[in-house]
Symmetry: D2
Subunit: 345 residues, 4 copies
């Protein structure tokens, strides 16, 4: 930790800062600069409150050196986390990138869901996604089939062998979701619902956390740290776009640089959702390919058997025919990437 | 609803859109522009899915005309909502702006809390705020005293007569919080925790919703719509800063224009929190005054009896002496505003 | 300057960094942390290139301690800059806040301009603003009357005694503008047109720099530093809104916190333009008042004699009647602020 | 154009809007909605001022249907623009993507520049980039070699056959730059320097416009429209990152979705600069690949013979060895893309 003093701070203010640090068993090293004085703090800073120091008179700024996340950082855990499922599917590291597809929400028409799942299986996808509990910005929009939707997903899994990913919105629903799902997804709007994250740390199911639209990469990794530090190391991250200033063509800005950054500084798998980020069908293929080639461990995107009549997010869903064409393009690229990964580039 | 067709859309695509609309009992009015064709939809659009139409081939863009929020809009409810508390305090409309103060989190030292509450009462504040359940970005930060904290707040209320505002983080805690608090606050990070919002719609306690750091004003009003449409009309909005690109001096950009905008388009009370938005002590007074003069129904800001040793957000808390001086400045301005309001400017 | 090494950096990499620093005549102080090594650089860092060091192998991050602006910082120049005009008007410090008003662009109808100027004089304003050279996002929009417009402004000055503020868009036009204007304004889109800023540093006329919509406060102050370091100390800053993610109600987010921040860290005057930031007529009064009460040295806003037929930015211009009412409200507040300033609060 | 009236607008206000439209020779079609009245304007709207209408009493919002750019839109010009250089190099359409490399700024050491140019030629690059006039945020940073730098670039061209790209900062320098450069680059900070754009429309050299860090795609295309509508159709666009809220790891957010969007709605070539957007060496390869696979017509990135001692932007420059490895990876991908393009996927 580095403490920068105001240019007109007094000797007394500096002494008070130093005393504060030494009282907590740490060492304060003073660097008198030509313009500003700087105090470096040496020792274990976990018990030190940066904000309290920032509040002391005469302090201009406190710069933290050590990242506040630990368990999810590559510094603490150099080898990649690879999450293995009972059916042999693996996510992370140098494993073949995966595809997670399905409708935004599970609807009453089970046959429609089955059509999507069957096509997904046929195209080599590993996961079926679909919301049973739906977070909707407006209270007047469709809110999901709830348990009925979970049962449909489980039935589709039985028929196809696909793994099921679905969203958890409340601590009260965790037990129910664990009965039906293989991966519990934390939605972007819940990324800092800390009660939920803690509760998910106490189960063993893999958790997929979507990046909040205003979350920095540090905040994103700290959300994962909540789950891991509470006991569940099986976390998959999912980039899905951040808030930008231009929403004429896309809902959010897909931050593809998050992929190589997270792969460098964390060991957790990171996948990308090009559907929600962009909100546009024609962007799924180019943005999905961009994510894969930059190192994503997989893609999640929306497919609906009848997008024109979907109860949510029709505009960004592919129909089954479009899906097959897109999946073919992704599979071709995934094959090349997998080949390069296996053959050391 | 206005549907804009692509410049190279076909007659068949246009016909399909028109048929889709007419099949739902609505009227489609076609305007053939010099460059683009436009379809206006007339009738009750609540059952129409804009995203499905946007997904149809040949459609460039769908523009919604009617705002998706209803109950919270001034169009539906022209007179101001004023929330009245049993002790006679009122929030909203042309009532005298209120002050809500207290520590970021309630800590073990009850005497400290009482010092703050006593000073608040002395300076004419109406509300004591303090977190018992704390949302913290890092799992390693202090997470709150939980029920013990609520008891402390209730004791401070007993001794001072101040009303208590505290944060609810999970549907499971609502009943407990209702025992102790006068206003339940939804934190910025939970602004789109829709399960929580719905559950809060089923109680009668006033709810204060903080604006999410990436929430548009429309999304902010829709969060309130969740509570109101589920049965609880007692909602206070709270602007607390939005995510910006410059975080050298402030954590967020306090969007003061939200105050006059919300007063124009909604009837709900809107207060402002200059502490969290800026994260800096020296900005509380100028930004608090700016909020009041632009029409805010109150301010919420942080006061701690010993900010240097606060367990959270010390840097932005005033100590009791600073608080008294700031409250004096606010009271002077509130007096002038109240005078102007009562005397029709 | 503080150099933070990667957690897995080697001894050789650290040595190379130290040698790089010592070769430039500076002192490197190594702090071996429990997790990361940190190198503090002592001495005159003006010749040191932070980016080069950041690029060295094993370096995680370089944190600069000293602000890169000097002449415009309060550290270097503690007393406020007050800009005095020949007619006795003063801008800055504790002087009475000023009002700058006029149409977005000067148009062919000179009588219209004169009506605005006369009303401005009547209401106690000090400056007439109006564009002769207009920056327009679209090449098909009205581009300004050029020299004719400048002559109109000068004629209006002659008749009213108001000072003239107008925008300079190109180094080639500086000499011409100096003939007619009292303050040369650098538009938001030119805030980092460094050739222009340098050229304006070589004249003596006061320069008003508008904040770029994506400029941090540091970048804003560095733009001023360009002018001041080239020889012209007469700079006024103007906050006019920054790019945000919500443009349903406003074009930009007016960052009022920039006012108290700039007054704390710089000695230059800072005024606020609530017209361009918000783009809405009904927001001029509440946001103008918010700016004044937070410490702004003045306001600039748009008035047009016939906004419905204005060639640019009609939606945000007040007509003369609205202007008089708004100016009355501002004058009332300015009177109170001036009284408080003169009487030490 | 669609005009939405306020929910409480009067019949008189509506009539006034209709009269305003009809007075300008256009047709107003009124749709009385269940909640809001809407007026559709039919006819040639180029002479209609949306902002004036938005300012009329009773108007809630004006929605433009037709895009304000024309010449650069694919609607007006369906086939791709391909820019051909005398040496046979082509940029745009389905041509093989190009590579533009070189130092951020040209420095005194000509041999260093030549090393970079030679390596670039060897790796099959088509363009040498380098700044002679440098826009620098701080006035104390290196400002460029000016004409000397241009001469160096021209000499390097002579020896290698590479085409030269360099930045123009001021209308006064255009003639000089035309003597030496093959492509004149407009920097991100000058994207809305309209005087400069107009002047560049009057020459014939290809112009490369970098996207401003706060520019929407529409504003970006309108900047190009300035050049094209003034007579120069040879414009290349360059995405280089937009301002985001997280600058811990990257300077800007590289908006890769701009590539497929611009390819869909404009016919101009679009290339991507992964160096400036990210500011980090390790991100050049993954982000460059992501740009190429999403459809970019080329990449521009920084290479320096001695990045540790570069006078600007060392941290983001590759050294020659790193460059060769990266170019090899890009060439492999470009080969595959070119193959797919030529063979219809």
């Amino acid at each position: 930790m580095i403490i920068v003093m105001e240019h007109n701070s007094t000797r007394e203010q500096l002494d008070r800062v130093v005393k504060y640090i030494e009282n907590r068993g740490l060492k304060a090293q003073i660097n008198n600069g030509t313009v500003l004085d700087v105090v470096a703090v040496l020792g274990d800073k976990t018990q030190l409150n940066a904000e309290s120091i920032a509040a002391m008179d005469g302090v201009y700024e406190v710069k933290k050196i050590q990242e506040p996340y630990k368990l999810v950082s590559r510094a603490a855990h150099p080898e990649d986390t690879v999450i293995s499922f009972p059916n042999g599917v693996k996510v992370g590291g140098l494993e073949r990138p995966v595809l997670m597809v399905g409708p935004c929400s599970v609807e009453k028409d089970f046959e429609g869901l089955l059509k999507v799942a069957t096509a997904a299986k046929e195209m080599g996808c590993q996961f079926l996604r679909g919301g049973a509990f739906k977070p909707r910005t407006s209270p007047y929009d469709f809110q999901g089939l709830e348990e009925k939707g979970l049962q449909y997903l489980a039935q589709a899994r039985e028929k196809t062998g696909l793994l099921v990913v679905t969203e958890v919105m409340d601590t009260m629903d965790i037990a129910l979701l664990c009965k039906y799902a293989d991966v519990l997804q934390v939605g972007a709007r819940n990324m800092q619902n800390f009660k939920l994250l803690k509760a998910l740390g106490r189960i063993k199911k893999p958790i997929m956390i979507k990046r909040g639209p205003a979350a920095t990469i540090k905040e994103f990794l700290l959300a994962a740290e909540y789950v891991v530090s509470n006991g569940n190391p099986n976390v998959i991250l999912c980039e899905r776009g951040v808030k930008g200033f231009d929403n004429q063509f896309t809902r959010n800005v897909l931050d593809i640089s998050a992929v190589p950054i997270i792969r460098k500084y964390s060991h957790l798998p990171i996948i990308v959702d090009p559907s929600h980020a962009t909100g546009k069908r024609f962007l799924i293929e180019p943005m999905g390919k961009a994510a894969l080639i930059s190192g994503a461990h997989g893609l999640m995107f929306e497919v609906h058997h009848d997008p024109d009549n979907a109860l949510c997010d029709g505009a960004q869903s592919l129909n089954i025919e479009q899906f097959k064409e897109t999946a073919k393009a992704f599979n071709k690229l995934i094959g090349r990437i997998d080949y390069d990964n296996k053959n050391n580039k």
